[in-house]
């Protein structure tokens, strides 16, 4: 709020400009952890498309590939077809439960450590510090007039940012096409326009989000901060200021009793521009950098670490009344997190089992609807079926088709002499089959019938139930 010259309150604007944030450099355990996570996650992101995986001559040799044109998803030894999308659904459910688990135990740990927005922003701030200097130098640079030095520093920074953005967008498209081929095509200008457009868009968003939007994305654009409250409770570990220990704050020599010397270290390192001492805030992504900053100061003034620390709200309240704080692991291992872990692991195990018992051949049988049966000249009844045989192998295979029924039924494949069907590599073949009763068998109603398919010289099998329909009784 601002006061006008006459002492009255001036109207505040309805729209506010972003207040620039200049996070100071910080050292410590959490900072190191975050550097490691940054290196590992970015490493996985940039390197993965280049890993090769031999699948034989008919299939791509890229370990991780989303092949939209041929509707296949490859992940090392796993190949997913569109009709097996439930695996992806299962992964998404696991990701959701994993997020519940981590949030109930550790609050917004995803936001603080692993979210791409946080990771790339960290990288962008690192570049910024290398080029323009630490917090105070950057504030000075912002305030000074544009001269040759400022122009040079700014242009250098923006160029490096743009290159990082380009690498980010560039890596993204490699997940959707053979990386070495696409890389060559991109350089020679022969790649598909969609590849260039995707790279341009992702370069632009990375550049803008990491360089200029930063905390604005988390505060105004991301729905997660709004959802998280539903998953956190008073026993969730979160970055908190031990107010009972720190207050009243003040310079040490002023004779105050609190541990907080009001050095503003926690505020200066905060990438979100908040003061953690004001309590839990929507803006806080729990990156824990304020813990590192405060621990450093506490060590220097000879006080125990942890004035700002991972602590649950319940424990903090109890500690304020003098109760001892239980070990951290008791706050991570509790019924709620165990339940999430059990659900998460249950789905994971179920999916692994499903993948392991999955057959390399799949069969679907659709009975003709119109007409349901045909009378032949011999008086026998014949039913028609559309059969699809899926061959998930990287080469063509032969499959024997057969059926099992209480009634004596003859199988005939349209356009084939015998009951052997060849299916091409990694393909589904659709065939028509005719099943006939014996003349004079007088079948009525629905007769259950199992159709099976077996790969030649292999244990791969698939079966499905269908029925044989005769005239109504």
């Amino acid at each position: 709020m601002s006061h006008g010259p006459d002492g009255g309150v001036e109207p505040q604007p309805l729209y506010a400009a972003r207040i620039p944030i200049f996070p100071r450099r910080v050292h410590g355990w959490f900072r190191n952890l975050k550097w490691w996570i940054l290196a590992i996650t970015l490493g996985i992101y940039y390197i993965t498309p280049w890993i090769r995986w031999d699948r034989g001559p008919n299939l791509p040799d890229q370990a991780v590939l989303v092949d939209l044109a041929n509707r296949r998803f490859y992940f090392f030894w796993i190949e997913i077809w569109p009709q097996e999308f439930y695996y992806v659904a299962g992964l998404l459910i696991m990701a959701g439960l994993g997020l519940f688990l981590f949030t109930s135990a550790l609050g917004r740990v995803w936001c603080g450590y692993a979210c791409p927005q946080t990771v790339w922003t960290d990288l962008f701030i690192l570049v910024e510090r290398w080029i323009e200097g630490d917090r105070n130098a950057r504030i000075r640079l912002l305030k000074q007039k544009w001269d040759a030095r400022k122009t040079r520093l700014r242009l250098t920074k923006w160029t490096v940012w743009a290159l990082i953005g380009l690498a980010t967008g560039g890596a993204w498209v490699f997940y959707f096409a053979d990386a070495p081929t696409l890389a060559r095509d991109l350089v020679t200008g022969a790649a598909h326009p969609v590849a260039y457009i995707s790279i341009a868009l992702l370069t632009a968003t990375t550049f803008t989000f990491g360089g200029f939007m930063r905390e604005q994305i988390c505060i105004y654009m991301c729905p997660w901060p709004r959802i998280q409250a539903a998953m956190m409770d008073e026993n969730t570990l979160t970055v908190s200021y031990r107010e009972w220990r720190g207050e009243p704050r003040g310079k040490k020599h002023e004779g105050t009793t609190g541990d907080c010397i009001d050095c503003m270290g926690c505020v200066n390192v905060c990438p979100m521009g908040i003061d953690i001492r004001n309590g839990q805030q929507l803006e806080c992504i729990t990156c824990a950098l304020c813990i590192d900053a405060c621990d450093d100061v506490m060590a220097r003034i000879g006080k125990p670490r942890g004035l700002i620390d991972y602590v649950t709200l319940a424990d903090d309240e109890a500690a304020a009344k003098g109760a001892p704080t239980p070990p951290v692991w008791t706050r991570i291992v509790r019924p709620r997190t165990l339940l999430y872990t059990a659900l998460w692991a249950g789905i994971g195990v179920a999916m692994v089992v499903m993948l392991m018992v999955r057959s390399s051949v799949d069969l679907t049988v659709a009975h003709d609807r119109n007409p349901l049966y045909v009378t032949l000249s011999s008086g026998a009844i014949r039913n028609g079926y559309t059969v699809k045989i899926a061959n998930r192998n990287g080469d063509a295979r032969n499959y024997e088709l057969g059926l099992v029924s209480e009634a004596a039924l003859d199988l005939q494949i349209q356009g084939e002499e015998g009951t052997l069907v060849e299916v091409g590599p990694d393909q589904i073949r659709e065939i028509r089959i005719f099943v006939s009763s014996q003349p004079g068998a007088e079948l009525t109603g629905d007769v259950p019938m199992e159709v099976w398919v077996a790969e030649e010289d292999s244990p791969a099998r698939a079966r499905t139930m269908s029925f044989f329909k005769g005239p109504d009784a």
Partner: protein
């Protein structure tokens, strides 16, 4: 809404906007300015879009847009492109004989799909969507054929039709109206019907059937054959099997003998192209009864 001076809201420490609705005041937590600019940008985009693309409805049509975009034209272009892609197959099918097309997996697949579409457009009205037929309109799924069920016979039937007045090469063969035209007396008709019932192993009067056998030999065997197995050159059906075009019960057979039968199928040669007819022939041949 009443306008008031903004004031400080004590519990939150936030200024109000000065807007008030029935005593409810609004806190002013300012939106980011970039959000406002994004909002303006979307308005600008909407304006550009409305000018560039067809947008505003007028009395007889909408504004056309500066880019001249038209989804109808797009569809027409895509249809033309699809037709041209089909032309490659059609040309091959036109120049090959049916057996060759059937042996070429790619061409056969194209012909089946295309033939099925043509069948549903032109043939399904009489033969049914599933080609199962109706009384008087043959079932094309079974293994009984009046005029032959190999590829060439089916092609000939589709091309020239059956008893089609517009085609000189049409298939001809008449079941005479033995009763109505006085060719057979009533008792003879009753007897021959019993004989026909006996041919397909249905319940019949053996005494009458024996009389009927003579009547059959004198009047029917010319077309249907001595043993009643039919004659494809004349489209005379096999009377010994389980399949009946009009019905195999006593009343329907009597009606057939009394009034005769002469179903008609149009000649499709001028209406469908030669490739289309070939495709339909391949499709019909694949339905289960092809010879």
């Amino acid at each position: 809404m009443a306008g008031k001076d903004p004031e400080l809201d004590k519990p939150t420490g936030v200024m109000t906007t000065g807007h008030e609705w029935d005593g409810i005041r609004e806190l002013n937590n300012p939106l980011p300015r970039w959000w406002l600019w994004t909002f303006y940008a979307t308005i600008f985009w909407a304006l550009v879009y409305a000018i560039a693309y067809p947008a505003w409805p007028l009395i007889s049509q909408a504004t056309q847009g500066l880019l001249g975009h038209d989804q109808r034209i797009e569809v027409a272009e895509e249809m033309t492109a699809a037709d041209q892609a089909r032309e490659v197959y059609r040309a091959q099918i036109a120049s090959m004989d049916l057996q060759e097309v059937q042996n070429d997996p790619e061409l056969a697949r194209f012909a089946m799909g295309s033939g099925a579409a043509t069948f549903r457009t032109y043939c399904a009205q009489c033969h049914g969507a599933g080609a199962q037929g109706h009384p008087g309109y043959p079932n094309l799924l079974d293994d009984a054929w009046l005029w032959g069920g190999d590829l060439d016979a089916i092609q000939t039937t589709i091309t020239h039709g059956i008893r089609s007045p517009d085609d000189d090469d049409t298939r001809i063969g008449d079941m005479l109206a033995f009763g109505r035209d006085g060719l057979l007396e009533r008792p003879d008709i009753a007897a021959v019907v019993e004989h026909v019932l006996s041919l397909s192993g249905q319940d019949h009067d053996p005494e009458l059937a024996e009389t009927g056998a003579t009547v059959f030999a004198d009047n029917c065997a010319t077309c249907h054959g001595e043993d009643g197995t039919g004659l494809r050159e004349l489209g005379a059906p096999n009377l010994t099997d389980a399949i009946w075009l009009y019905g195999g019960d006593r009343a329907t057979i009597t009606e057939t003998v009394v009034n005769g039968r002469s179903g008609m199928m149009p000649n499709w040669s001028p209406r469908l192209t030669e490739e289309q007819i070939k495709e339909v022939a391949l499709y019909v041949h694949s339905l289960g009864g092809g010879e």
